[in-house]
């Protein structure tokens, strides 16, 4: 089951560049939350702070508090523990090129020392079914490389790989921006199904996509969160002038 995320006074830097400033928000459990905003507004940095990926950049720095469920992730846990609870799907599909489809999905478990074969088989099947890829690949799980799939399939493979470690939160950083419309709609259907089991945070440039999949939407601008509310309110009756300008296409 998913858990809620509470963010208090989050600040992040790239070198001297203050990319996130005093972010405060509560992301509800078992819902999809969309983050929108123009390029460079800090929304990607924000999701990378939720699984402590931001600090893997040598010049990245973070202050503030992020709570996932009851866990204060910057105080009480190591980065690798957090990343097992918070899965991430990246903008460009990034399957492990030398691994089969099966090994790609099992990678997170295998590399953390999990080796029960029968259980792995089950988890791989369940994850691929959850990511709506099972029917397309079940016959060549171990024969084909992850890199031999189409772009849309690769992205669903990456989602299966993230689901296999059984996270509570799923972060998606523009998961469909490199895909064609058919693949995009498959990913959106998937998000719709997955949010009953996981807390989903999706960064997107596509406002229709945010409107279609998310209950809550946050609007980021220049490293600050301008507005966070129900998706319906953001898109029909935003409280902030800047949100309205962005939604209506006046900039960005």
């Amino acid at each position: 089951m998913g858990v809620g995320i509470e963010v208090i006074n989050l600040n992040a830097w790239y070198g001297t560049n203050h990319t996130l400033q005093d972010i405060n928000l509560n992301i509800p459990a078992n819902h999809a939350t969309a983050l929108i905003g123009p390029s460079g507004c800090g929304k990607s940095t924000f999701v990378r702070c939720i699984n402590r990926m931001h600090e893997t950049n040598p010049i990245g720095r973070v202050t503030g508090t992020v709570r996932i469920g009851d866990l204060d992730i910057y105080k009480d846990a190591k980065p690798v523990q957090i990343r097992r609870r918070v899965g991430m799907v990246f903008q460009r599909p990034n399957p492990f090129p030398t691994m089969s489809i099966y090994d790609n999905v099992a990678a997170g478990l295998k590399l953390n020392g999990y080796s029960n074969r029968r259980a792995l088989d089950e988890i791989v099947e369940r994850s691929l079914k959850n990511s709506a890829l099972w029917d397309e690949v079940k016959d060549d799980l171990k024969k084909k490389s992850g890199a031999s799939l189409s772009g849309g399939q690769q992205q669903r493979l990456c989602i299966a790989r993230a689901l296999a470690v059984d996270p509570e939160v799923l972060l998606m950083d523009e998961p469909a921006s490199a895909l064609d419309p058919v693949s995009t709609s498959k990913i959106e259907d998937l998000i719709f199904q997955l949010k009953s089991q996981y807390t989903i945070v999706i960064v997107t440039h596509n406002m229709q996509q945010a409107a279609r999949v998310a209950e809550k939407t946050g609007f980021f601008l220049n490293g600050r969160m301008v507005e966070f509310d129900s998706t319906h309110k953001i898109f029909t009756n935003p409280s902030d002038k800047r949100t309205e300008d962005y939604i209506t296409g006046r900039f960005g």
Binding site: M53, T56, V80, F90, N94, F96, T98, A107, L111, S148
Partner: protein
């Protein structure tokens, strides 16, 4: 106009390709011409005959080269790959990495005869306490000299191949909660492995033909020997000795030895390629 320049560039490229291939083909044909006449079963099964007797072969030198290259690879490949992993993954931007990279580049340019002399001065001439095989000419010291010649090539190719692995692949591993060291060994190195293997094979092929480092270390041997503690024969050494001799019979054996050396290197490289490529899945290049 466009067709003319297109044709010009294409023919220049073809010409350049021919210039690259021609010497290789010429050498190989000449070797075949000079070497095949002395190639017979005895060449592969017998040891050299004493001066004055005709016939004999280089079986001991073929075996000796194999042993020397095994010792060299056991030393050169792990150290080289380990150094390359450090340079690309852990020491990026550090002073130590800079020093290692600089040393590797200099070591790569050191003439092979100097490597042989260094090995002689460090482990052949002095007997080092508790270290076996030292204090005299030995197969081991020859292997060490060749192994150290492999290190810089293996190290720098490994580094470059690892740096070519896309950042997205590393992020994917980190995003799964895989510890960094595990991600480096199981994901990054595995992804770069075809290139790393090529680097190892290049280094292997390069030292397989080296004569100079062996003169002061493995020394050469006219008899069967598989003992790491004793001087050992090697194909390049044997070719060197036979080619400089005043006997026609030995000259022919030297040609045959050169041919066998080249064929064996090609076979070894192809074998490793074949074995390692079977595990890698299609479409994964």
């Amino acid at each position: 106009m466009r067709t003319i320049s297109d044709g010009l560039v294409t023919s220049l490229a073809i010409l350049a390709t021919l210039v690259v291939i021609a010497p290789l083909v010429a050498i190989f044909i000449y070797l075949l011409y000079m070497g095949t006449s002395s190639l017979n079963l005895a060449f592969f099964t017998q040891i050299p005959k004493p001066v004055g007797e005709s016939g004999g072969g280089m079986a001991n030198a073929i075996l000796g080269s194999g042993i020397l290259l095994c010792v060299a690879s056991v030393i050169g490949v792990p150290i080289g790959i380990g150094g390359g992993i450090f340079l690309a993954e852990f020491g990026r931007g550090s002073k130590l990495a800079f020093a290692i990279r600089f040393t590797a580049d200099v070591l790569n340019g050191v003439p092979s005869i100097v490597m042989g002399l260094a090995a002689y001065a460090l482990i052949v001439a002095p007997k080092i306490p508790f270290l076996p095989f030292t204090g005299h000419f030995s197969a081991f010291s020859g292997g060490v000299a060749l192994g150290f010649m492999m290190i810089p090539t293996v190290c720098r190719t490994t580094e470059e191949m690892l740096l070519m692995v896309p950042h997205a692949v590393r992020e994917a591993a980190l995003g799964l909660g895989v510890p960094n060291w595990r991600s480096v060994l199981s994901i990054t190195v595995k992804t770069a492995s075809p290139g790393i293997i090529t680097g190892c094979m290049l280094a292997f092929a390069r030292v397989a033909g080296e004569t100079a480092p062996l003169i002061f270390t493995a020394l050469g041997n006219q008899f069967w020997s598989t003992n790491l503690n004793q001087p050992i024969a090697a194909l390049p050494l044997q070719i060197y000795v036979y080619a400089l001799s005043p006997y026609d019979d030995w000259h022919r054996l030297a040609w045959a030895g050169s041919l066998v050396l080249i064929v064996l290197i090609v076979l070894a490289v192809s074998l490793v390629r074949f074995v390692t490529s079977r595990g890698v899945l299609k479409g994964a290049s």
